[in-house]
């Protein structure tokens, strides 16, 4: 489903060039829950931008569902994001004055889905993300951090993306709420078969995934299945 071959990213800053990604290659299969972990400055955010079709690699190939994303125009990238990718951000990025439901509907508005249908889909997504029904008509700035992140998760999965990208989703949450959000991801992965890529710098967050990719200085230093998960009897993990 996701194939990255020798992904390189060079940032040009005035005269100087910096090689942020030094040729990364890996695959992610459908239904996997992968964590990409690395210290700040390791290039994991750049990797997330490329995986999320927000940015293009300087060289190398990124194939999403067999389609080479690295050669597309800006509007085509927007199309890919609309149809195949769901984002969950550290700072939620909800529209503050819109209701929870409206926030989830927004991607469907750009997808030009008919009104009745999108209401139904948005409610379903909110239910799957675990937000209590009574909060659907709350303005998003009236919700707690955990509730906001649930709305954001619902927004990410509302148009059935091929991949959900979560960028430090617990970064703004306390430990307990963070655990709940991570449990939600696990559940979505296990029960609904969503492919999830989690980007974090905290190993205890990465521990929730089935597979962990370590990045340092723009290179993959380790790519392993999560031993704790295997020990915990997650038998559905097959190499």
């Amino acid at each position: 489903m996701i194939e990255c071959r020798n992904i390189k990213k060079i940032y040009k800053n005035g005269g100087s060039e910096s090689l942020v990604l030094k040729g990364l290659s890996f695959n992610i299969n459908p239904g996997e829950f992968v964590a990409i972990i690395g210290p700040s400055g390791s290039g994991k955010s750049t990797m997330m931008h490329i995986l999320g079709a927000l940015d293009k690699a300087t060289s190398g190939e990124y194939l999403l569902d067999g389609k080479n994303v690295s050669v597309l125009s800006e509007d085509k990238l927007a199309e890919i994001r609309k149809k195949k990718i769901g984002f969950v951000f550290q700072s939620f990025n909800l529209l503050p004055r819109a209701t929870a439901l409206r926030n989830v509907i927004l991607p469907l508005v750009y997808a030009e889905m008919p009104k009745e249908e999108r209401d139904k889909k948005a409610k379903e997504a909110l239910k799957n993300a675990g937000l209590d029904e009574k909060y659907y008509d709350y303005k998003s700035n009236q919700l707690s951090g955990g509730q906001m992140q649930r709305v954001a998760i619902a927004r990410a999965l509302v148009n059935d993306p091929s991949i959900i990208l979560a960028d430090e989703p617990t970064g703004n949450l306390d430990t307990k709420t963070g655990e709940i959000v991570l449990a939600t991801f696990q559940e979505l992965n296990k029960k609904k078969d969503h492919t999830i890529v989690l980007i974090t710098h905290e190993s205890n967050v990465a521990e929730h995934a089935d597979r962990i990719i370590f990045i340092r200085d723009g290179e993959i230093v380790e790519d392993k299945k999560n031993p704790r998960k295997v020990l915990a009897g997650r038998i559905n993990y097959i190499d």
Binding site: H49, G52, L54, D55, E74, D75, A78, E79, R81, K82, K83, F87, F89, S91, N93, L95, R97, A98, R102, L106, P107, V109, Y110, A111, E112, R155
Partner: protein
Amino acid sequence: MKISDLIEETYLALISNKARSGLTILGIVIGIGSVIAMIAIGQGTQASIKSSIESLGSNLIMIRPGVQRTAGSAVSAGRGSAQTLTVEDSEAIRDEIELAKAVAPAVSGRYQITAKGSNTNTQVIGTNADYTKVKNISVDDGVFFTEQQSRSGAKVAVLGPTAAEDLFGTSTSPIGQKIKIKGIEFKVIGTTITKGSSGMDDQDDVVYIPLAAAQRYFTGNEYVSTINVQAASEESMEDLQNQITDLLLERHNIADSASADFSVMNQADIVASASSIAGTLTLLLGAIAGISLVVGGIGIMNMMLTNVTERTREIGLRKAIGAKKREISLQFLAESVMLTFLGGLIGTAAGWIVALGVQHFGNIAIEVSMASVAMAFGVSAAIGIIFGYYPAKRAASLSPIEALRYE
């Protein structure tokens, strides 16, 4: 994004910041409102000037004394103060020019008039019987004086309705009563039907007396201040004007028409010059109001730029969930156009109300034309597009990564 969604998104964005949207709209409301009101007042004035000039009489040519030059003197007397036209001139026009249907020489002045204890200060016009024809005057009660009376200077008077009411009230008939003009007694023989106000002076507040009487008792000479000539038809106006000019030049022994001591104006010229003044006035008022519209437009741009900066993260998010450049710029453009359009709508209503208020309290005629309303909407939508374009373009060209990181 569908149009209905675009409108919904725009609506949600605008009501989420009511105060700011309201103030921005206010700028456009004032701009459009003042354009509408100013143009309404300007056009109304133009129309009322035209109609009041036309009500003076139909197919009318007016001859007035022109600049009088004395031989050897470089100084000329002011126009209108000159005394160059006489009753003989008017009689010559009547006798020698066939196209002249009616000829009415006139002198006028304001005098104190008394009658049985009441008194008024009003305009007294000394003229002849033809005056009723050239000025569209109809007698209400009694009779107008005859040609014979006007030549002989009979001490009779015909009152306009306002003058009649001021002197005798509404209950008593003034016919047969005596009035004193500057102490000289006249007998009232008739009253006229109302003609209405022409804006500057009340055409009903007037007393008509025979020309010879006016010259004998009040002006003390035989000059007249105007000769009004009615043409047989509208087509013959120009011919008549030329013939009058030729005749008077000959009578006054002037070879060069450029140094004529009189001027011949026809009604169309008067209407044209008056409405061109009013037209310039309309343009001036509209231009001043237009400046406030531009200021309002800059207000829109300012608000939209602030908006784009404030909503940078929102723009980043919209891009992340698949909004194309065009969809982002359309959304911001739609917001500014909706603001200006609402401003245009309210402004038109406000301008109209202001114009009606001016009409009601200021006694100035107004005329709100559909053209100016259509123009107001066109202009306000155009302002929305012009002043919203740059902010919208700026929003659309933001990089999603940068925008999402924006603090």
